[in-house]
């Protein structure tokens, strides 16, 4: 069985709960780093027909496909979603908007061209919105599409985010099943640069099969590789999402989410080396068994510090962190490399 088939089999066993197409899959307010300061952000996850890659199988860790709509939304419904989402931002004075779908915002099959223009146009029209970030797979980052977006947005900043995950094609293929190559990303980055659009790369800490150490070093190396091709780097810590292949193996004791100490070390090493880059991480589900975690005592503190660093880009907030479990983590870094195929579990 291929990795894609394995992922697809699991997908097919999941039920998608029916819900109104008038509302986005999710929307929330948060704060982010922007130009050396903390800025408000409104994140919107549009409910679309879903990621084309995910529908055919998709990535081993991705559970967002289940956020897609059971019946593809009409263009009107998509715009209604934006409207409903913007209510959440009513009280904000000045903010960025991050747009996700369960796939690619720039994919016409998910968001029709006209709808995309309308959505971006509405955001451009809102004075409080100073920047829009949209996520997409690299194949949709073309001259034509970018230009159309820039047209719609006017002088509102525009950034494209791509889930690169890693610069290693080996890992992206055999562990993540992402379906594109590093050169696809760098090509997209070139197109973006040529159009004056900034790039954000999402990386994945600890995909399947990698040891804690391999995972850590892979991100460090990826940031070196990607430094010229992005302005912002956001490191996702792999968590165990429902209905994913990662979950399948995790339930069988064959996967452990990354340690929070690993992201701390990554941030310290990479930021020092690349002070020009904005390097952030938002540990989702930190401290839980399914999320990145240290021990019960320190997971919350360390996770808070990572958040704070992400907003401030100030490495000092990471300096004071310590816990008894850090010795264990160091041992795991040493030994998890030498288990020949089974993770070291807690």
């Amino acid at each position: 069985m291929s990795l894609n088939k394995a992922v697809l089999d699991i997908r097919n066993r999941q039920r998608i709960k029916p819900s109104s197409n008038d509302y986005p899959a999710a929307v929330w307010r948060s704060t982010d780093h922007f130009n050396g300061e903390t800025a408000d952000t409104l994140t919107i996850i549009f409910k679309t027909s879903g990621c084309w890659w995910g529908k055919a199988g998709g990535c081993t860790m991705c559970g967002f496909v289940y956020d897609s709509a059971k019946i593809p939304p009409t263009p009107e419904e998509l715009e209604k979603q934006l409207e409903n989402a913007m209510h959440k931002g009513e009280r904000l004075e000045r903010f960025m908007v991050k747009i996700f779908t369960s796939g690619s915002f720039l994919d016409e099959k998910e968001i029709p061209v006209e709808t995309r223009k309308n959505i971006l146009g509405k955001l451009a029209a809102d004075e409080r919105v100073f920047k829009v970030i949209v996520e997409s797979r690299p194949e949709f980052v073309t001259d034509e599409i970018l230009k159309s977006c820039i047209d719609a947005l006017g002088d509102t900043s525009f950034e494209v985010a791509i889930g690169l995950e890693t610069s290693s094609d080996n890992i992206r293929k055999n562990s993540i099943n992402k379906g594109f190559k590093f050169t696809d990303y760098t090509n997209a980055a070139t197109v973006a640069r040529n159009n004056g659009v900034t790039m954000k790369a999402y990386l994945l800490l600890k995909p399947l099969f990698l040891s804690e150490k391999e995972a850590l070093e892979d991100i460090v190396k990826t940031i070196d590789d990607v430094a010229e091709h992005a302005q912002t780097i956001s490191i996702n810590l792999c968590n165990v999402q429902n209905g994913t292949y990662v979950e399948h193996l995790w339930q069988r004791g064959q996967y452990r989410p990354p340690w929070l100490w690993s992201i701390v070390e990554i941030l310290q090493r990479t930021k020092q080396k690349h002070p020009e880059l904005v390097i952030t991480s938002d540990p989702v589900g930190a401290g839980s068994k399914r999320g990145p975690h240290n021990c019960k005592k320190c997971s919350r503190d360390v996770s808070d510090a990572v958040h704070l660093y992400s907003r401030t880009q100030d490495l000092r907030v990471l300096e004071e962190l310590n816990c008894e479990c850090k010795d264990l983590w160091k041992k795991v870094l040493e030994l998890d490399d030498l288990t020949y195929g089974s993770p070291i579990l807690d």
């Binding site: 892979d218 193996l249 041992k331 020949y340 070291i344």
Partner: protein, 621 residues
């Protein structure tokens, strides 16, 4: 070719071996996991292809060989997957990672992929089998069937003091201290009887050199790093002691008995034992023909151990009773062989001169039925069991099935059962099942005067009724053992009617035409052949088997595995085997099983007792 590993001793699937580096390493062995990263260590890992490029990997190989020459087992670069990974991914990666190196090498064993030669195999994802007895069993048997018997099997990230003996029992040669170390850093205190959180303990139940100098309170108050180090040292001490104990048990041949107790620590270990026992092929092929120690039958799993099941199966498949029409079923005795016990002396005295018309078969748990002629033969004379008077339903079911099989195959005109309680229950079950009549001669107590008298009178009454065949206890015994050991037909050949049995019980010797053919070895109740006996079997057209075919040379003392061309697959460690080649004929004791003789490139196959130049004329006489 496995030039770097040799198996020296076996106890079931477990074995003691040697990794042939300049300082040989005794197996079962515990690898200090971190030492795998030392390119000059005895085991050196060339790295993971998840983060190495092909060039970097080759460079690693080169570096290791440069540092230590062929004095390290080089673990080829690998890209590890967990066990439940899809086959395609495994295949893709396997193709990509097609590395080789000179000298001794270790390889990942990946399910579903072709096996290439190596000195050591690492079970991929072994740690994930924790708790999953069925999958682990399947993986072990699969690997053992695919790799050469004289290669070492390494199971990483799984071993603890509690499961070490079981892993070794199942045939694993190498483990590591990953779990022992991680537990130490997790404040977990490991013992052979389970693990404890340091916080939930009140005392340290250990006198090892890590624990002896400190109290639990002192340990708790230490800085984490120091505490972790001491706990790790303790955990590794326990692991090491347990592995040494397992080695001692292999040498003594009684690892099974230990594992039958030890497996109670975790349900999945007990499950492993039970599941492996259902794999009679794998288990029996590794079980020696005989051991000099007692077989302790202290638990329900004792009934399914391969030596016990084999005995029952051979009674069914290989044994033919003497031509005696009257069967007397008797209960077993604690003292072995039964015939020297108090109760059996009385039975025998009661049978008196009519004994020659009677065939005696003993009913016993866990062996089932033991014909008198085989009472000396391992394990009939070697088991010790828990005596409480109560037989559980499984024992009754098992022994009934043995008796039922026996009586279905072997017919008697009269069946007398001089038994009580569970023995009687069993006879009644079988009597009802097969619709055959059984005469019961005991009333309340098998050794009471009344019962013994009844036995005596019943037998003489029957004998008086007609003409009955007589048995010849000494030749019957030798013939039964020959059949048991060499298969049906061997008895006829080695102990024909014209043969003579010399020397008193139990040191019988068989002579034909004044030539000694065979000797009974009382300690195991098995037969040793003389060179004349060997020629007799070898030259017969009616018998084939237990033969090791060798190349055209004349071995001396020991026959090494590389000299073996072919060997009977039925041969077990400890078997008496014929050795035949164009230049030699001989006999000796098998030191490995038949399959291993053929597939091994190292080790002693047969310990020869007699070896002669093949002489075609002589072979014909």
């Amino acid at each position: 070719m496995t030039s770097y590993f040799e198996v020296e001793q076996r106890d079931g699937a477990a074995r003691i071996g040697k990794i042939l580096l300049s300082t040989p390493i005794r197996t079962p062995h515990i690898i200090d996991t971190v030492s795998l990263k030392d390119p000059a260590g005895p085991f050196a890992d060339a790295g993971s292809m998840w983060d190495l490029s092909a060039e970097e990997a080759l460079e690693n190989i080169r570096k290791i060989r440069e540092l230590s020459g062929d004095d390290t087992i080089l673990i080829l670069p690998h890209q590890d997957l967990t066990p439940d990974v899809p086959g395609d991914v495994a295949e893709t990666i396997a193709k990509k990672i097609d590395m080789e190196a000179t000298g001794p090498i270790g390889r990942i064993y990946r399910h579903g992929q072709d096996v290439k030669k190596a000195d050591l195999y690492i079970m991929e994802g072994a740690g994930s089998f924790q708790g999953n007895a069925r999958k682990f069993m399947q993986r072990i048997i699969e690997i053992r069937e695919k790799i050469a018997p004289d290669t070492a099997l390494y199971v990483p990230n799984l071993c603890t003091p509690a499961n070490a003996a079981m892993l070794i029992y199942l045939g694993i040669d190498i483990v590591d201290n990953t779990r022992a170390t991680v537990a130490g850093y997790n404040d977990i205190y490991l013992t052979t009887s389970g693990s404890y959180f340091v916080d939930s303990m009140a005392e340290l139940p250990c006198r090892c050199d890590a624990c002896a100098p400190i109290t639990l309170e002192e340990l708790r108050e230490m800085p984490k790093a120091d505490r972790a180090e001491i706990l790790t040292r303790h955990n590794c001490n326990m692991l090491e002691a347990e592995v040494v104990l397992a080695r001692e048990r292999i040498r003594a041949g009684n690892l099974r008995e230990y594992v039958e107790g030890q497996c109670r620590v975790e349900p999945w270990l007990a499950g492993l034992l039970r599941l492996f026992d259902t794999q009679y092929g794998y288990m029996e092929e590794h079980a020696p023909l005989a051991r000099s120690n007692q077989l302790l039958a202290t638990t329900s799993e004792s009934m399914t151990r391969p030596e016990v099941v084999r005995f029952a199966r051979r009674i069914h498949e290989r044994y033919t009773p003497p031509e005696t029409d009257i069967l007397v079923l008797l209960p077993c005795s604690a003292k072995k062989p039964y015939s020297i016990s108090n109760s059996h002396s009385k039975f025998i005295r009661s049978l008196g001169k009519n004994r020659r018309y009677v065939h005696e078969v003993i009913i016993t748990s866990p062996l089932g039925v033991v014909p008198r002629e085989l009472e000396l033969t391992y394990p009939a004379s070697h088991y010790d069991t828990v005596v409480t008077g109560y037989w559980d339903a499984e024992e009754i079911k098992w022994v009934s099935s043995c008796l039922s099989e026996y009586l279905s195959k072997n017919k008697y005109s009269h069946i007398i059962a001089h038994v009580e309680e569970a023995y009687r229950e069993i006879c009644e079950i079988v009597s009802k099942e097969l619709g055959i009549e059984i005469i019961y001669t005991s009333s309340g107590n098998v050794t009471s005067y009344e019962s013994l008298d009844n036995l005596k009178n019943t037998v003489s009454g029957i004998v008086a009724e007609g003409e009955f065949g007589q048995n010849k206890p000494r030749s019957d015994l030798m013939r039964a053992i020959a059949d048991y050991q060499f298969g049906p037909g061997a008895g006829e050949l080695l102990v024909p009617d014209r043969s003579k049995i010399k020397a008193p019980f139990p040191k019988h010797q068989v002579f034909i035409d004044k030539k000694q053919i065979a000797t009974l070895i009382p300690q195991y109740g098995i037969i040793a052949l003389t060179i004349d006996g060997t020629r007799l079997l070898a030259a017969s057209d009616d018998y084939e088997g237990y033969t090791v075919t060798i190349d055209d040379f004349l071995p001396r003392g020991s026959l090494l595995a590389p000299g073996v061309i072919d060997a009977d697959e039925r041969i077990r460690t400890g078997d008496e085997v014929l050795v035949k080649g164009s230049k030699a004929i001989g006999v000796g004791r098998a030191m490995m099983n038949g399959k291993e003789m053929v597939a091994s490139t190292r080790g002693i196959a047969v310990d020869l007792r007699h070896i002669k130049k093949a002489d075609k004329d002589k072979d014909k006489d």
